[in-house]
């Protein structure tokens, strides 16, 4: 993730917040063909995302299923508590976009968690209990209230937001402006 490179210059505290690009997605997900029917996308609209993924060693494909990501977000909170947030976040992204796994399935999430050194059985139980459901709901509500409509959105020190997969230099420049107080909300 390009934004991680900010650690070279700043003492960065990362916080992952959930967002649903497709709220109301059925729990089992939806075939991409069906989900995309009637939608028109500009040519190359995914190019920047693909390049960002490639920078992180992830070969972005076009998975046939668009999953419901609610459980993946809950699992992300589990990983956060387990001290493996960045590793898990990257691994889930790779599992979906590169390995074309259905990350709406608890089995897939538990396997990825195990590969990140997390306790997969504890995750399974946490997802079954809905232990992180409220936390994710709060994050989704925050995003709606903040007017966020696209991802990734990176909010710097709670004051300034950058939307989209930008170059590292953009994140770095914004970081400098924010810490020097040269931008206002």
């Amino acid at each position: 993730m390009r934004v991680e490179r900010l650690s070279e210059e700043f003492d960065v505290e990362f916080e992952a917040f959930a967002f649903e690009l497709r709220p109301g997605m059925p729990p089992e997900g939806m075939a991409r063909k069906e989900a995309s029917r009637g939608r028109v996308y500009p040519p190359g609209y995914l190019d920047n995302m693909r390049q960002m993924a490639a920078d992180s060693g992830i070969d972005m494909k076009r998975p046939a299923i668009i999953p419901n990501t609610r459980k993946a977000h809950e699992a992300t909170e589990f990983a956060k508590d387990g001290g493996a947030l960045l590793a898990f976040h990257r691994a889930v992204f790779k599992a979906y976009w590169s390995d074309e796994q259905n990350i709406g399935e608890i089995e897939v999430l538990c396997r990825v968690a195990g590969e990140c050194g997390l306790n997969s059985e504890a995750l399974r139980q946490a997802l079954a209990d809905g232990r992180y459901a409220e936390r994710v709901q709060e994050q989704l509500a925050w995003g709606r209230a903040a007017g966020i409509t696209g991802v990734p959105t990176v909010v710097f020190n709670g004051r300034f937001a950058v939307v989209g997969a930008q170059d590292s230099e953009v994140f770095r420049d914004v970081g400098r402006h924010v810490v020097e107080g040269r931008v206002s909300a």
């Binding site: 917040f17 959930a18 979906y96």
Partner: protein
């Protein structure tokens, strides 16, 4: 210059009292909190 530092090697407190060196606070990296709002799809 008179110094207390005889017998001490690299003790910044002693050397500072002796006026031998100017010790400036180490500049840390500026702190940045990043809230990354994202979905996996």
């Amino acid at each position: 210059m008179e110094s207390w530092s005889v017998g001490f090697d690299g003790d910044e407190d002693v050397e500072r009292h002796a006026g031998m060196i100017e010790v400036r606070p180490k500049a840390g990296k500026p702190r940045l909190h990043l809230r990354v709002v994202s979905d996996y799809i």
